[in-house]
């Protein structure tokens, strides 16, 4: 059944390509069926609906033999439906369905309409594959599939050079992370001769670390690798997640990915695909050592802060959201690293809804401005916030949706974002109080970054809110006429917006708006049993996690109060800085550029692109130049020499060829051509046909007689 969910979008994607007319109804139909099945599967797994005994293993874990290598276990392909997987199934299919509905209007005039829906279908297939696969190798395959879908969709308007470049950048940067993933795969396979997750969870605790060696027990034989490889494997998986989830230092691809169509940004680059890294960490959580988890927390905290900072000084409406996505993904990764496994997945869930809502609202704004420009025959950048302002009066519906989703992202109480963010922050406090034994004062940097980001988030989101929807409209240079032509978006676009905004309310997740502990995702998601072996002197990983979670309880009230205060403060600051003291937005016109050192740092995303250009890329280019020089001056010389002798020999052969062999070929070609001419020359006259036939027959018969 789960396999059905997996294959439906793929089938839809293939059929849409074959279709001559518009194929959206087909894809959406398949998607809706997939969503219904996922909801059913999720309800079957809901504790209490059916006790564990009645859930057949066939429903949750199905395996098929693929091949059996010489040594080790048979290689299987399979589907493993755990509770987080079922939850993600519903989220991915649900958001995909809404985004497809939205896209029908958004992409209607695009000549690549069917191609677009086909790519979306393929993406959903690959994403569901990551969610469901029970085997690291299979996950890797789908992981690459998702990368391909992302490449295709970012570069959907491949005629635009920026889009093509962005697609290439995303693809290449992701490959860096994938190298880590691949290394992890190789290590696990070398150690355990299997990549099946369920098997790894069994084999991992059976392995042990003794005198610097990591001993594994499988099939009666024992394998040993240096103990450090256990941590290296964890880092490899982390690297994969860093690439896909745009974490520091690989977050540079995500802002550029905004070149794709906006619904794509909503689905891939906000709600689902970028969350795949976080999901991967949750899937392999039992295989990560404490060391890896700690680094994960630091990386997440760094990314959360860097993303929030970079979101400040952007002109592009989508770039702000892109940096905010990076920052929120940083939260999730930080939570995962801090052992707040359930909180991170909870945040993934809430973030998927409100961020998709935000992107689609941004898409609605862009669509409305674009249409208005079209109506008045003007031309301006419909994504540049300097051309916006005062849209609240023209797009009241979009404004309300945007406001709800934005407040959820900012983390205002009574909205979903508050609950999940609070859960993560509490988790990091607990982590810091335990990890300070290893990391000292550094450990407190993680919650500090978390809280700083919690303050920054409402400020930059408030900035966007005020600049886009409040104040005066800033269209100028003859484009002012378009303001009057702005119309609210069509109903088919409004429906997905409404659903996503409603899902951003906290009430769906927890009745008590301040108690994330009572939220159903938190109760549903059980912390998995940690499986990594610890050496005897070191403190056992499982115990450590237990301590962290116990410590976190003490900070529950503290974080709740502090983050609520921070949010309100942030919103107030945003109002003051970007609205009241900003001439109600009028200073932010199309002449405005960021001048100060600090805003330029934010605008250029910490100069990361420039840094990479000067270091990694410069090094790569230097190496290439060197190789080029070597190739030309050294190797080519040798080849030339060899070539020269070849040419001399060739002349001899040429002469021979021309005189003797070509002559023979030409004769045979001429004969063949003449024969062909003869055999087709009789055309038209049936008497002639019969004559030829009878003459041939007579010839044969005569020949038979003599």
């Amino acid at each position: 059944m789960a396999a059905g969910v997996l294959l439906l979008p793929l089938l839809g994607a293939l059929l849409v390509l074959l279709l001559r007319g518009r194929g959206h109804w087909l894809m959406i139909g398949f998607q809706a069926v997939a969503l219904l099945i996922s909801v059913y599967l999720f309800s079957r797994l809901w504790p209490g609906n059916s006790d564990a005994a009645t859930i057949s293993p066939a429903l949750t874990h199905a395996r098929w033999n693929w091949f059996t290598p010489g040594a080790g276990y048979p290689f299987t392909l399979g589907i493993w439906l755990t509770i987080p997987a079922a939850l993600l199934l519903v989220v991915v299919n649900g958001v995909a369905l809404l985004v497809q509905l939205f896209s029908v209007v958004y992409m209607w005039k695009d000549p690549g309409f069917n191609r677009y829906f086909s790519f979306l279908g393929f993406f959903v297939f690959a994403m569901l594959g990551i969610v469901l696969a029970d085997n690291l190798f299979l996950i890797f395959c789908f992981w690459e599939g998702v990368g391909l879908a992302s490449y295709l969709l970012i570069g959907f308007w491949f005629n635009k050079p920026q889009a093509a470049a962005a697609a290439k950048k995303a693809f290449l940067v992701n490959r860096v992370g994938d190298i880590g993933f691949l290394i992890a795969l190789l290590i696990f396979y070398a150690q355990f001769r299997t990549l099946d997750l369920a098997a790894l969870f069994q084999l991992m605790p059976a392995s042990y670390i003794q005198s610097g060696d990591w001993q594994a027990v499988w099939s009666g034989a024992a394998g040993a690798l240096p103990a450090i490889l256990l941590t290296v494997a964890g880092f490899g998986l982390l690297m994969g997640a860093i690439g896909k989830s745009a974490q520091f230092p690989l977050q540079i691809w995500l802002p550029d990915a905004m070149e794709g169509p906006t619904p794509v940004s909503a689905l891939l680059h906000a709600a689902t695909m970028v969350a795949a890294g976080v999901y991967l960490l949750s899937r392999v959580f039992p295989l990560l050592t404490p060391m890896v988890l700690d680094i994960t927390a630091f990386i997440g905290a760094t990314t959360a802060f860097m993303g929030a900072f970079a979101a400040f000084a952007q002109h592009d409406i989508k770039k702000v959201l892109a940096f905010s996505t990076i920052s929120q993904l940083g939260y999730m990764v930080m939570g995962m690293g801090a052992g707040a496994y359930d909180a991170a997945l909870f945040h993934l869930l809430t973030h998927a809804f409100f961020k998709a809502g935000l992107f689609l609202s941004a898409g609605a704004v862009i669509y409305a401005l674009h249409e208005a420009a079209h109506r008045r025959h003007t031309h301006f950048d419909a994504q540049d916030m300097r051309n916006m302002g005062g849209l609240r009066r023209k797009l009241p519906f979009t404004f309300v949706i945007y406001l709800l989703c934005m407040l959820a992202l900012a983390g205002l109480p009574f909205l979903s974002g508050f609950l999940s963010k609070d859960a993560i922050l509490t988790g990091t406090m607990g982590w810091a109080s335990v990890a300070r034994k290893q990391w000292g004062i550094l450990a407190w940097l993680v919650p500090l970054a978390g809280f700083t980001t919690a303050l920054l988030t409402p400020i930059y989101m408030g900035r966007q809110l005020f600049l886009v929807f409040f104040g005066y409209n800033r269209l100028s240079d003859g484009n002012e006429v378009s303001y009057g032509a702005i119309r609210e978006v069509p109903m088919l676009m409004r429906f997905p917006l409404l659903v996503l905004a409603l899902l951003s309310l906290g009430i769906w997740f927890s009745f008590d708006a301040f108690d994330f502990q009572g939220a159903w995702p938190m109760r549903l998601l059980q912390l998995p049993q940690v499986a990594v072996p610890g050496s005897l002197t070191e403190y056992q990983a499982a115990n450590r996690l237990f301590d962290i979670r116990e410590a976190a309880f003490r900070y529950h009230t503290f974080t709740g109060v502090v983050s609520a205060i921070l949010v309100l403060m942030g919103l107030l600051l945003a109002y003051l800085i970007y609205h009241l003291f900003n001439g109600r937005g009028s200073f932010y016109n199309n002449k405005f550029v960021f001048r100060s050192r600090i805003t330029r740092l934010s605008y250029s995303n910490w100069h990361l692109d420039a840094i990479y250009r000067r270091t990694v890329i410069a090094f790569g280019l230097g190496l290439m130049h060197f190789a080029n020089w070597l190739d030309r001056k050294v190797i080519d010389r040798l080849v030339d020499l060899l070539g020269m002798s070849g040419v001399v020999f060739g002349h001899v052969v040429y002469w021979f060829d021309r005189t003797f062999i070509d002559g023979a070929v030409q004769v045979s070609v001429w004969v063949a051509g003449q024969a062909g001419h003869f055999s087709r020359s009789m055309s038209g006259r049936v008497q002639q046909y019969l004559l030829i036939m009878l003459a041939c027959m007579m010839a044969i018969i005569l020949w038979m007689f003599f």
Binding site: G676, S683, Y689, L690, M693, M697, I700, M704
Partner: protein, 508 residues
């Protein structure tokens, strides 16, 4: 009174025997019934969906016939049916299945073409199938003649069916040519009857009659050759091939695709049956065994050469396919001439794959015609970028027809060639070696004209914006995709087809 009594009793007995045989002939009877149903349906079904209705009806009839064949019509061992006029063995079952497969594909192709035609078109298709199925079982000169003639008449009508000058001209040419061919065959048959006094080629009297010392050897050979001429006409072997290009050009496209498969394969089956009995008789001819392998091999070589060389010059896709089908006939005939189980297996494999690729080629030509409004290969210029789906499939199918990997066309050719080599190296006639060499050489020639189509599709620039006449339908795209996929699949899993063929190998 006394004279009548002995004749009535055998008549009654033979009538009863005929009735007992009928269940094994249900596949043919189903098709016959289908002809009537389609004729009735053509009158009753409203014009708006007549074509679709009749096509679906024909599909159902063919499916029912195949069901009857597979689940009711398999005798445990070879039997003679209908007063020894038919011989039903495993070979007959295999060829009847192939005939039904090509009929099925022909009807699927007709969804577009059939719209322009009257409803009787489907009746004629089914009639042709029924005749072809009888051909692959016939073991009596009378029934051989009748079944060939039925198939031919259906084919003449189908050729002229599209109406218009082109169709009528092609139909008339085909008819005149066919009439002469069947007159020649009938003359040979009458001579054979005169020599032996029986029409049943499986009967002892047939052999003993031919062995009789009163008859000189040469008239027997002449008579046999005249009969074979009739078969060669159906298989379109040189010099009996002249009707082929005109008929293919004039006939509706699905019918042309059918002509190049069903009657041809049935003709090959008939030829194998006839030759096997005739050779048996020939062997006992006091050492005067005539080398049929040589004379037919010579014809096969000429056929391969003429078919391939003439195809190089064709500008019209249908004529190109017609010459390509002549060229394939030569190779199929070569497989027959191996006279061994290996050759027979290769023939079945080749026949099966040939049906797939031939129908795929015709289908794609029909789709490109729908897109460009032309059958001229020159008008395919630069379509590769605009119609990427059909163009990619076209490349696959053309590679298959040439006989290159990774397609089943390669496997099929390889099997035929290795059967020829096997036959030659285990002490067979050196003609088999010549056949093998010609086959290899003409494959190189084939590369030129088959790849001409991809060359135009991809390497030539489109002249200007071409007006799209009507698009290809989803059904056509799926069907073409499936056929091309099968061609690639059976390259990698040739064993699936081989397993099926093993079940139909003659055990004796």
């Amino acid at each position: 009174m006394e004279t009548q009594a002995p004749t009535i009793a055998p008549l009654k007995a033979s009538l009863q025997a005929i009735l007992q045989d009928l269940p094994l002939l249900y596949p043919e009877l189903t098709l016959g019934l289908g002809v009537l149903l389609v004729l009735l349906g053509a009158l009753l079904i409203p014009r708006s969906w007549r074509n679709e209705g009749l096509a679906v009806l024909s599909l159902l009839v063919i499916a029912a016939s195949a069901y009857m064949l597979l689940y009711k019509g398999l005798p445990a061992e070879p039997v003679h049916l209908l007063a020894r006029t038919l011989q039903l063995d495993k070979m007959a079952v295999a060829f009847r299945l192939l005939v039904l497969l090509s009929g099925l594909l022909a009807v699927l192709l007709s969804f577009r073409e059939g719209k322009k035609l009257a409803g009787e078109y489907y009746a004629l298709l089914l009639g042709l199938l029924m005749a072809a199925m009888l051909m692959s079982m016939a073991s009596n000169l009378l029934l051989i003649y009748l079944s060939i003639e039925t198939a031919s008449i259906c084919a003449y009508l189908l050729t002229a069916f599209s109406g218009g000058r082109e169709g009528a001209e092609a139909g008339l040419k085909y008819l005149l040519f066919g009439a002469v061919a069947s007159a020649i065959m009938l003359y040979g048959m009458s001579l054979l009857y005169g020599f032996t006094g029986t029409l049943d080629i499986t009967a002892y009297g047939f052999k003993s009659g031919l062995m009789s010392l009163n008859i000189p050897i040469l008239p027997v050979l002449l008579a046999a050759f005249l009969v074979l001429a009739g078969f060669l006409f159906k298989i379109s072997v040189v010099p009996f091939h002249l009707w082929t290009p005109d008929a293919y050009q004039g006939a509706p496209l699905p019918a042309a695709a059918l002509f190049s498969t069903a009657p041809k394969l049935a003709g090959l089956a008939l030829m194998m049956r006839f030759l096997s009995h005739f050779l048996e008789a020939g062997i006992i001819f006091a050492g005067l065994r005539f080398d049929w392998q040589f004379i037919l091999g010579l014809l096969a070589i000429i056929t391969m050469l003429v078919g391939n060389l003439a195809a190089v010059w064709q500008q019209d896709a249908r004529r190109l396919l017609a010459y390509s089908s002549i060229a394939h006939s030569g190779l199929l005939l070569a497989a027959v001439l191996v006279f061994r189980a290996l050759g027979y297996k290769a023939l079945l494999f080749y026949g099966f794959v040939y049906i797939l690729m031939n129908f795929a080629a015709f289908l794609l030509v029909s789709m490109l015609k729908a897109e460009t409004g032309s059958y001229k290969i020159a008008d395919y210029r630069g379509l590769g970028s605009r119609l990427s789906y059909s163009s990619v499939l076209m490349v696959v199918v053309m590679i298959a027809l040439t006989g290159l990997p990774p397609t089943a066309g390669f496997t099929a050719k390889l099997l035929v060639f290795s059967a020829l080599w096997e036959g030659y190296s285990s002490g067979g006639s050196s003609m088999l070696l010549y056949l093998l060499l010609t086959g290899l050489a003409t494959t190189v020639v084939a590369l030129f004209y088959y790849l001409k189509i991809p060359y135009y599709l991809y390497l030539k620039k489109q002249p200007e914006a071409v007006v799209q006449v009507e698009g290809s339908t989803v059904l056509e795209r799926i069907l073409a995709g499936a056929l091309a996929l099968l061609l690639v699949l059976f390259f990698f899993r040739a064993d699936w087809v081989m397993n099926w063929i093993e079940a139909f190998t003659i055990s004796q």
